[in-house]
Amino acid sequence: MQKVNIFKISLTAVTFLITLLLVLAIGSLFVVPSLEDIRQNIWNAEMRYSLKLSLVTGLISTVLVMLFALPVGYALSRFHFWGKGFVKTIIDMPIAFPELVLGLCLLLLFGNTPVGKLLSALGLTFVFTKKGIVAAQFFTALPYAIRIMKSTFDYINPRIEFVSRSLGYSMAETFKNISLPLAKNGILASTVISFARCIGTFGTVLILAGGSYMKTEILPITLYLNISYGNMGMALTSGIVLMVVSFIAIFIFEKTEVGL
């Protein structure tokens, strides 16, 4: 007779318990409001505005994030340079930062400083504007994207790149024709996670862009505003929309089988 493994059973039990709690928590978001309520809320002007603004800013931010995550991730994975440890620490820091702190930092930087004034003169005003939403999402999502890209490049055997170099490709050509196609899954995963992170950014946007009703209102702000207004129906609906976006993102991410 096989001996019952208490260790295995108890660990599995804990795993199931936590999963059950999460399922209940997520489920209650869908059970509480009525379908009619959700249907009405999704089509009202505030929700349409916020959904559209979320998608537009989220897409722009994701493209920008990836434009930076690819070279930075590759550099951190392949090259050794002076100050690399410092660079890695600084880039990773926003992951552990509360979003509100990041928002405050950006507000200070883009406010009445030479940097802020220079950017303003170039037409890049970030405080209380839609551009501010993109900036907030960009800095919140960037560290995650860089992490995924770095670990993706870490898993690609450098020998393949050496072979490519020895057969005549330059470093840049190797990156474009060999490394990038091999990193396809990682790029997809990184893009998806960045997008989900951008759509979900709250604290940074609230402080930098102000979170004004129908002005700099994105989905998490809609949720927050409607809690303050005492309008639970709208709050729950925006919660559901956000949940669906993250669910799709995680689903695609799991399919790509990339490690974080």
Binding site: S10, L107, I207, G210, S212, S228, Y229
Partner: protein, 254 residues
Amino acid sequence: MMKRLLVIVVAVICFSWASVGFTGDLMIFSGAGLIKPIEEMRTKFADHHKVIVDVHYGSSGEIFAAVAAGQPCDVLIPGAEKYTEDALKNGWVGDTITKVVLHVPCIAVPKGNPANVKGFMDLVRPGVRVAIGDPKAPAIGRVARKMLKKAGIWDQATKNITVYAPTVNQLLIYVALKQVDAAIIWGDLVTWAEGKGKLEVIPIEKQYNIIKTIPTAVCTKAANRSLAHKFNEYIASDEGLRIWKKWGFEPCKK
């Protein structure tokens, strides 16, 4: 090893169960802007009566909705009387409404007053960046819109308003960091920041100002009614009023 791990797990579960399942003797819903005096009164009241008092701070709209949704609340202290009056109409609070202190709106400007704001009408001068609270969320947002409408300058003012902040605290940050030239905010909220030299306060002229009173009321569904009444009375007592004054609030004339 296994046994010890199990003991720890069980202990953690029991402990968290106890702390989660334990609720205070009194539940207060208070406007977020009142946090400083209410916190001091909460501590004093709890010490004196040997009870545990929990306070949930939120925007007036939020705590009003929470009471409407039937969340357990013993004493309701919103930022304006409108909320307790509506609650009385709906039967959520008893006939226990006491007017406590005045809530006086004022204009806060960054130190040095960069846009040279001297009075209410300066808020519509072209180029002045103004912040107000979201008219639907904190009580100050609603009052700011009302004042601008009463003065007949709401449409002009909207051109100058760069941000409708969902929380009062944001207004303070934006003024202190010079992101706006002026913000309409409760006088009691800025007295503390003014003392620290971060900003200056410009009073709003009498003919434009709308002064609110902060009320307190006992909810009809209060679990511990006698204790709730005691707290309700304590807030408006002489000792209570001293604490309000300390934090920049002006007592109502009795």
